[in-house]
Amino acid sequence: MNELKLELKEKIIEQLNLEEFTVTDIDDDDALFGDGLGLDSIDALELIVMLDKDYGIQLTDPKEGKEVFQSITVLANYIAEHRTK
């Protein structure tokens, strides 16, 4: 699980061009949106594409996305449970 969390942090920093961040700056339970990392709706689209492309998970319900993207811990748990690749 820790490996997956580290992998997610690296992917988020790279794909969302978070130039100011390193993996150590992101705590597992930090909020990804709002006051935490400060991601926005375009980032949400990027994350949805990443889930589909890298883990074979298709999010179709916007409410589901809101829950899944709460934090690295929640996202990692969801991926571990639903991944098809």
Binding site: Q15, L16, N17, E19, G38, I42, E46, V49, K53
Partner: protein, 340 residues
């Protein structure tokens, strides 16, 4: 005819032109195929949250525009007009390559959103929260000139008093290599490196002490070398000038076979004039004439000419006016006349 005064001029280019302190610009090595810009510290001008999605051209354009506004002590322009021949080619390449690599699936939104030609103008407006007239001209090597003509027309119609005008181009990573391949396959191709940059100007219909005035601009799509001589005579006559009264002429030589257009003018109408060039220090790109105008403005302001720009004949002070002539591959000719 209303004036069109340059209240500030800023350029990010392959030279250290952003602060433009030394004015000691070097000729680019001909062995270098691509001349990347010397980038200022963008963090001083763009918040990190905004800059993380910006490609090179957007960062250069937004920064040059902000600096130009600062130098002109202007918070909100009445219009933002941008010229770009290739637009945001970096993100266009990223988006198109992603379509191919992922078999038209898994397309992310950011490169697509940022790949349009008007991204720079839009990002400048967003940063300023400016809802004024905003237009981007995409006319190949006349993109910047088209933006200038639009600005002059807005002044003429009393639609604006202060306008932010600029030209932006980024090298990108792939498309430029195909163009280079074609150019280097022929010994008649472009010899200066391919370049990139952003030059922005705050133009005003109001005169300011010592400000350079853009008197006139003319663009011609297609013309023979002899047509250009005739059109130049008419252009000068329309501005109550003869070639002898032009203090310096700046040509857009890039080393290709179409330099004959410049050589023809240089050996006929302007044989005795101070002859200058600039693409040997900036590289060639669609909106490089904006860098040419930046250099011409600085030359009039400083009354100095970088030695790298001199082709023929020394110059006498005071330099009161400068004529610029540019063309690309025998098409898209432009004349610009500025004076101080």
């Amino acid at each position: 005819m209303k004036g069109c005064y340059i209240h500030s001029a800023v350029s990010i280019s392959a030279q250290d032109s952003f602060d433009a302190k030394s004015f000691d610009f070097k000729i680019l090595e001909n062995t270098v195929e691509k001349a990347t810009a010397i980038h200022p510290n963008y963090r001083d001008f763009i918040p990190p949250a905004a800059s993380r999605r910006m490609a090179t051209g957007v960062k250069m354009g937004v920064t040059a525009a902000k600096r130009a506004l600062q130098l002109a002590n202007l918070e909100q322009p009445d219009a933002i007009i941008t010229g770009s021949g290739m637009g945001c080619i970096e993100d266009t390449e990223k988006f198109l390559n992603s379509i191919i690599a992922n078999n038209e699936e898994f397309l992310t939104p950011t490169p697509f959103i940022q790949s349009t030609h008007n991204t720079v103008g839009a990002q400048i407006a967003l940063g300023l929260k400016c809802k004024a007239y905003n237009n981007t001209f995409v006319h190949g090597s006349l993109s910047f000139e088209s933006a200038l003509i639009d600005a002059k027309q807005l002044f003429q119609e009393n639609e604006a008093q202060n306008i932010l005008v600029g030209g932006v181009e980024e090298l990108g990573k792939e498309f430029v290599d195909y163009v280079l391949m074609m150019e280097t396959s022929s010994n008649q191709g472009i010899k200066v490196p391919f370049g990139e940059g952003a030059s922005f100007f705050v133009l005003s219909s109001e005169p300011k002490l010592g400000a350079v005035n853009i008197h006139d601009i003319e663009t011609i799509s297609l013309a023979s070398e002899n047509d250009i001589i005739e059109r130049m005579k008419v252009f000068l006559s329309n501005n109550n000038l003869t070639s002898e009264k032009v203090d310096a002429i700046i040509f857009g030589n890039n080393g290709d076979s179409f330099d004959s257009y410049y050589n023809n003018l240089a050996s006929t109408l302007f044989e005795e004039n101070t002859q200058l060039q600039y693409k040997n220090i900036s590289g060639e790109f669609y909106t490089v004439s904006a860098f040419g105008l930046f250099m011409a403005t600085k030359i009039l302001e400083e009354q100095k000419i970088p030695s790298a720009m001199l082709i023929k004949n020394s110059f006498k002070k005071p330099l009161k006016n400068i004529l610029l002539y540019n063309q690309f591959k025998g098409r898209n000719h432009s004349f610009m006349l500025i004076s101080k």
